[in-house]
């Protein structure tokens, strides 16, 4: 398979995952803003920060749902809006058309056709929920046709690597942006966490329900951090993503009979996560730990691009 094709598949699924995560984050914002007495501007500021919008671009007065809709959903010229990312995913798909099953290609193309049209109009607040549902639905359709129709070969492995790199990155980022919420409470075990904040975190990775189920409704900083970092049953946790990257890289190592530096990197990430205890993480600094993980993840992504000749 061409290096360029591997790169196209990897990036197609990165963009898709990134837009999907962003939709979840906005959805968390909508839910919380609707169900809380706190100032909606705080909620939207927190959403914009989590989405990586730089400080100077956030209106200082009070960011509104309209800014979020415009900036993060509809603006085709903002490369990190859902609309722009879907266009990039589809463009990458067009480039690697021959490596996708027909159903997968058609689903990503339909995803773009549908969302580009949906996000073309200035959405108002009442339509936002429907738009967010549609974004996640379209993304699920692409994943569904990929899982249902694509050969489990190197093509598939690069799709999965793109998805998992992006997912680990997002989960690390959401934790990092919120570490200050979790951190102080580590010294006050038992004191209630700010409702709004922990809900944002859990809902934005669609882990709200499963967390409550596993912890019988008990909310704690260590519990949430452990769940999102170390619990490999949770499909958006860092441990889960790293485990999947490891298995896909191992598969490539087998079929190509080539071991690269990216294999060493993923192995040491796996080893470190296996030995990590959440209490140590919190005592030694959650922020530092997350920063370290995010850096490792970025290094791995670059190494994969080099090892598998995505570019010249």
């Amino acid at each position: 398979m061409l290096g360029k094709t591997a790169g196209g598949l990897f990036w197609m699924f990165r963009y898709l995952e990134r837009s999907d995560n962003l939709a979840r984050l906005i959805d968390a914002g909508v839910n919380i803003a609707a169900g809380t007495t706190s100032d909606p501007a705080d909620v939207w500021r927190s959403v914009l920060i989590s989405a990586g919008v730089s400080d100077d671009r956030i209106s200082h007065e009070s960011p509104t749902v309209h800014q979020v809709i415009e900036e993060l959903l509809c603006d085709p010229d903002n490369p990190s809006s859902v609309r722009a990312m879907i266009a990039q995913a589809r463009n990458a798909g067009r480039m690697v058309r021959t490596a996708l099953s027909r159903e997968t290609w058609e689903s990503v193309n339909r995803c773009w056709i549908t969302l580009d049209d949906l996000l073309d109009h200035r959405l108002n607040e009442r339509d936002i929920q429907n738009a967010l549902v549609e974004i996640r639905r379209q993304s699920a359709l692409v994943h569904g046709s990929m899982h249902g129709t694509m050969l489990r070969d190197d093509d598939f492995a690069f799709c999965r690597l793109g998805t998992c790199i992006e997912r680990a990155d997002y989960t690390a980022r959401i934790l990092d942006v919120k570490y200050y919420v979790l951190l102080p409470t580590a010294f006050h075990v038992g004191s209630p966490l700010d409702n709004v904040q922990w809900e944002t975190i859990l809902r934005s990775v669609s882990a709200h329900q499963s967390y409550l189920w596993l912890h019988q409704g008990e909310i704690s900083a260590a519990g949430i951090a452990e769940f999102l970092i170390l619990d490999d049953r949770m499909p958006r946790s860092i441990a889960f993503s790293v485990k999947k990257m490891a298995s896909n890289l191992r598969y490539l190592e087998q079929i190509y009979e080539q071991r690269h530096r990216s294999h060493d990197l993923i192995d040491s990430m796996m080893d470190e996560l296996a030995e990590t205890k959440i209490d140590d993480v919190i005592n030694n600094g959650l922020h530092e730990f997350i920063q370290m993980l995010g850096g490792r993840n970025a290094e791995l992504a670059q190494q994969i691009e080099a090892d598998y000749r995505f570019y010249h």
């Binding site: 360029k4 067009r94 058309r97």
Partner: protein, 477 residues
């Protein structure tokens, strides 16, 4: 403009009842609800969008992707009509290959005085690097599109040969897939020849021309200029359907005397390259040095037997419009018999007597550039304004060698579905021909282009043309 009754209507002839190839279809059509068909027309559009069969228009800044309009009334050709076309096309395509081999080697046809020397010597499509070189299997034109027009029940003419990189075959295939999807029951009532095997035949045909350096199953790749090319969909479609890699020049490099593609495991040699890039751009060392689309050193590898290029460089001398006017002589010279399919009468403006005839009758003629294509740079006399004609007269006088002229043809019509029901529109036909060392394969079908504007004779998609599914009937052979 002449009244519509002068044109041969392929569905109804010149009467009220359908001609025999259309009888079963018309019977089905009678039983259909008009509103359902209109709904199907928009369903077809959405199928094309989802499949991604779109193209970019050159010079169109807004970069929006367009669809070539699809009309859901098929163009139907009887088995008997088709077998006649097949014989004529085979003869023509074999003559084109023999002509190319001759021109780049012994030049018998020039020695025999059947073709003027300057036609080759001064031809910009001539490729000196091909001199004295015989491509693998002796095949020059692996893929040819022969444009055919019909003017009566038994009158077919070849309007143009496309021997460089003919496009449009993805429409032949996708139009059929769309029809099968929308009207499965119809194909139970009418026996239509399959076109679906084309990509497999193409792959087999290309593999049969593998170069000497190939020792295993040939590795086939399709070379595209990239995403922005108007035919990108077709390039990716064909690569996909053939199970071949779709490559751009940035994926390729000459490694150890072979043209190789950069894979996830290092460089891997390509045996047969179906290139959808013009001669001028394939190798900056041999042709245009500014080309970013090609592979430096490709032609050296080619000449050393390290790769097969389809089509071979330099095939353009067989399909420019000045050479076209000599096709009857060319066919006769190599096949030993008269052409089975007629040319359209063609006036060469380079010859003073022809030029004065053209200038005197320009209102009734179609004037084309010798190297033009896609409906650009041509004049359709009967449809042109007096300013446009005056403009063209100046061009002709200034540079007569650059033009040929043909009488305005009474192109046949096939009905399209309009909001008011069926209405006749002019059509042409491009069957796709595959040439391998031992055989010529013509897929029963082709691309029917249709001028959607009433009375228009220009079918090019760049000029508002659409397409139809083309049926060759399985009976009546």
């Amino acid at each position: 403009m002449s009244p519509a009754t002068e044109f041969f209507n392929e569905m109804f002839g010149n009467g009220d009842s359908p001609r025999s190839p259309y009888r079963d279809y018309c019977q089905w059509f009678e039983g259909e609800d008009g509103r359902r068909l209109q709904a199907k027309a928009s369903e077809a559009e959405s199928i094309f969008r989802t499949t991604g069969i779109t193209f970019n228009v050159y010079g169109d800044d807004d970069a929006a992707e367009r669809l070539i309009p699809f009309d859901l009334v098929p163009r139907i050709i009887s088995g008997r009509e088709w077998s006649r076309l097949v014989k004529g096309i085979e003869q023509r395509v074999l003559a084109i290959n023999a002509f190319l081999e001759d021109i780049y080697n012994h030049r018998e046809i020039l020695k025999a005085g059947r073709l003027p020397q300057h036609l080759i010597a001064e031809n910009s499509a001539f490729v000196g690097q091909m001199l004295g070189f015989r491509p693998p299997g002796g095949v020059y034109t692996h893929i040819v599109g022969v444009d055919i027009v019909r003017t009566g029940p038994d009158e077919f003419h070849v309007l143009e040969d496309n021997a460089r990189t003919p496009s449009g075959v993805s429409y032949m295939l996708e139009n059929r897939e769309t029809m099968l999807h929308m009207f499965p029951e119809l194909f139970g009532q009418v026996q239509v020849e399959r076109v679906r095997d084309y990509p497999r035949s193409l792959r087999m045909s290309l593999e049969a021309c593998a170069p000497d350096a190939c020792t295993d199953r040939p590795n086939v790749a399709v070379l595209t200029p990239g995403l922005m090319n108007s035919a990108y969909f077709e390039h990716s479609f064909l690569a996909d359907q053939m199970g071949a890699e779709l490559v751009e020049s940035s994926d390729l490099q000459v490694v150890d005397g072979r043209v190789a593609m950069r894979t996830t495991q290092g460089y891997r040699p390509i045996d047969v390259l179906y290139r959808r890039i013009d001669d001028d751009f394939v190798d900056p060392l041999s042709f245009r040095p500014d080309s970013l689309l090609g592979v430096p050193g490709l032609i050296d590898v080619y000449r050393a037997g390290g790769i097969t290029l389809a089509n071979a460089p330099g095939t353009g001398i067989a399909d420019d419009k000045a050479v076209y006017s000599y096709m009857p002589e060319i066919i006769e010279f190599y096949s030993g018999g008269p052409p089975l399919l007629d040319n359209v009468e063609t006036w060469r403006c380079a010859e003073p007597a022809h030029l004065s005839h053209v200038l005197a009758n320009i209102e009734d003629m179609v004037v084309k550039e010798v190297h033009g294509s896609g409906g650009y740079g041509m004049l359709v006399g009967p449809a042109a304004s007096s300013e446009e004609i005056a403009d063209f007269v100046d061009k002709l006088k200034a540079n007569p060698d650059n033009y040929i002229a043909q009488p305005t043809l009474a192109l046949s019509t096939v009905p399209i579905l309009t909001e008011k029901g069926l209405a006749p529109r002019h059509v042409d036909l491009r069957p796709f021909v595959l040439v391998s060392p031992n055989r010529v394969h013509i897929t029963p079908g082709g691309l029917t282009r249709v001028a959607l504007t009433e009375g228009s004779l220009v079918v090019n998609s760049s000029q508002g043309g659409g397409t139809k599914d083309t049926w060759v009937l399985a009976d009546e052979y």
